[in-house]
């Protein structure tokens, strides 16, 4: 049973890095992850996320808006999440699974009680998705039913979580804490982990296991307990912290754009 060689994947100490090195490092560590916000003008918040040529996703948020009677909740915000594939127009079960997992996560992280009787519409549109790409690849052998279906499902879910987070920030929706998700591929297993970054002051080497809050994780394949715990409580968390730093540089620019600071006292 091959185990993950964490030496190769070790992340340098974030604090000792020069500020310019961070985006380059993130880009190499996250497979060419790129993101942007406020890309659509006719909605309250939007974001786009690209992972090399493999995945392209747009997330748009409308709300809080007036809810229909059917969806309305008396004391909290209702969520309407829909994930749309790049090729098929109908809803498929893969999207249902992603929607379900996203809902589980977002209802815990959005401050729902801030917006009673209102509705938040969150739409995801895949422009390029790995699961559908593989179906039409010329080089794929016949009769291999989505050979990498599970890992592509995890990749899509990861992209949706991160895109939702950025879009929620862009739409100025109240969140209980910041969060992001990362994927770690081992030789024989794929792991998706979404961490809650509740208290940023713990970002140092003295982080204990007790500080780590896992919002969602899914591991598929074949893996040992030590590998799993190492990924959940050590390597994955470091990777997630790095991504959080990367996102933080984006909020800086968002705040600069959205708020006008004056010198008048």
């Amino acid at each position: 049973m091959p185990t993950l060689d964490l030496e190769d994947l070790s992340i340098p100490d974030i604090h000792n890095l020069p500020p310019d090195a961070l985006p380059a490092l993130s880009s190499s560590l996250f497979d060419g992850l790129k993101f942007d916000t406020s890309i659509i003008s006719h909605c309250d918040g939007s974001s786009s996320l690209t992972i090399s040529d493999n995945l392209k996703l747009i997330c748009s948020i409308n709300g809080p808006i007036e809810s229909s009677l059917k969806l309305e909740l008396p004391d909290k915000l209702a969520l309407d999440i829909s994930v749309n594939s790049s090729l098929s127009t109908t809803n498929n079960s893969n999207n249902q699974l992603i929607e379900n997992n996203l809902r589980k996560l977002l209802i815990r992280k959005i401050n729902l009680s801030m917006y009673p009787k209102q509705l938040l519409v969150i739409n995801f549109q895949f422009l390029v998705s790995p699961s559908e790409n593989s179906l039409f690849q010329k080089n794929s052998p016949p009769n291999t039913p989505s050979s990498s279906s599970s890992s592509s499902y995890l990749l899509e879910l990861m992209a949706c979580i991160n895109a939702a987070y950025l879009a929620l920030l862009d739409a100025n929706i109240s969140l209980t804490s910041s969060f992001n998700s990362v994927i770690i591929n081992n030789n024989s297993s794929n792991h998706l982990i979404c961490y809650d970054h509740n208290h940023l002051h713990t970002i140092n080497n003295s982080t204990t296991d007790h500080d780590i809050i896992i919002l969602y994780s899914e591991s598929l394949g074949r893996f040992s307990q030590s590998t799993l715990f190492n990924i959940l409580f050590n390597f994955g968390y470091k990777k997630s912290l790095l991504l959080n730093f990367h996102f933080a540089s984006l909020y800086k620019s968002i705040i600069k754009q959205k708020f006008i600071y004056t010198d008048n006292k």
């Binding site: 379900n100 599970s150 919002l215 409580f233």
Partner: protein, 416 residues
Amino acid sequence: MSAAKIDSAQVNNQGDDEVFELKPMNFNPYVLQRIAPDLLLKKYLDLNIRPSLRSFNEFKSIQINDSNLQDNQNLLAKTTVKNGNTIVICGIFAKITEQSLTSDSSILESSQLYNEIYENDPSNQNQNTNSEFMPIYPIIEIARGRFGAPTDEEMILAKKLYNLILNSRLIPKSSLKINLGIKFTDPITNKETTYYSNADDEKNLENKEFNLNDFKPKNNFNFNLHATFKIFNREGPLFDIIYSTLLKTLQNVHLPNVYIDEQNAYLSNILNNSAHSNINTSRNKNKNNLIEDDLSLICDDSNTYPLILNQSIIGFSSTFGFIDRIKSEPHNENNISPNDNDDKETVLLCDIEGEAEETECYSRVNIIPINNQNDSDDNDEFTYFSITGGGSKITKQLLRKAVWLSKQRSKYLQSL
């Protein structure tokens, strides 16, 4: 067990004096768990028991019934499982797909190319090996008293099951490949014999001058496994029970041997050859029909062989819920972990059951360990591990406890 709530005030207007009479209102647990699940669960947890009257670390009872497939010839295996009050019926049937490799040589070439590339590239080892395994196509139906399109829960369960079976590499592609036999009829004695191109069969053939493969269609045939689930009396999350039922059923699957008739084999081969030689000439419609109609694959129910599963990854799923409660007496054995707050503790609940537990347990862990082949305890591998947080905090200690319990449960289910 009844829960009281001061709810209504009865007002008696007698002159100017208003007399309020506060009456306790009684609800039975079934009503209370709908209107105030948190209250109900708290009341039970304070008594160190759960609404289902099980203790915290107690799983639901399970009964497995592997019935024969005599009653329905289309089913390859059928299992009925009763888990608590929930009944799951799982049936597995197969469909045959044809792979026309010879007719389209470009696909064959690309497939070879693909294999060459991915075999030589160690970084794609994962994908490559996954493509050597087959998924199962589940259809899940949860009885809810009406018909209609599948609900979200059914679709999600089916997709999760599909992902899991494919990614855990349970069913090797080779075990679903059909070894097509041919039935010969002796013209003198009218005795029918079916030959399969196994190594043994070829040795047994008296006349070694002809090759059995010459009589067969060039295309490959494969089984595709489909599983149907009927679920009655849903009481909680269903994934564990569905996965266990599926594994138990797959272990009973016997695939039939498939053969074609000698005459058809001869005809189809002739027609195939002529079609290949005259690609440009317009095909006779009747001829095409002849192939399709007559090349009927016959499944021999009396001659079956067991489905070969990847035994090294078999393990059964279990789900645990986590919930905070006010700390009870210190001598209580069910205390699991001390929390940040001294007055709170997180307890682990096995096999979530009932509306109160389902709505209140946000934090859950779903584990599928791999059972040991031999009885040694050193195997600590998993095929699936999922954490849903957001409710009670799941610490490493709690995870270890859940892992240990899931291994015990998986061993027990294997022994059934």
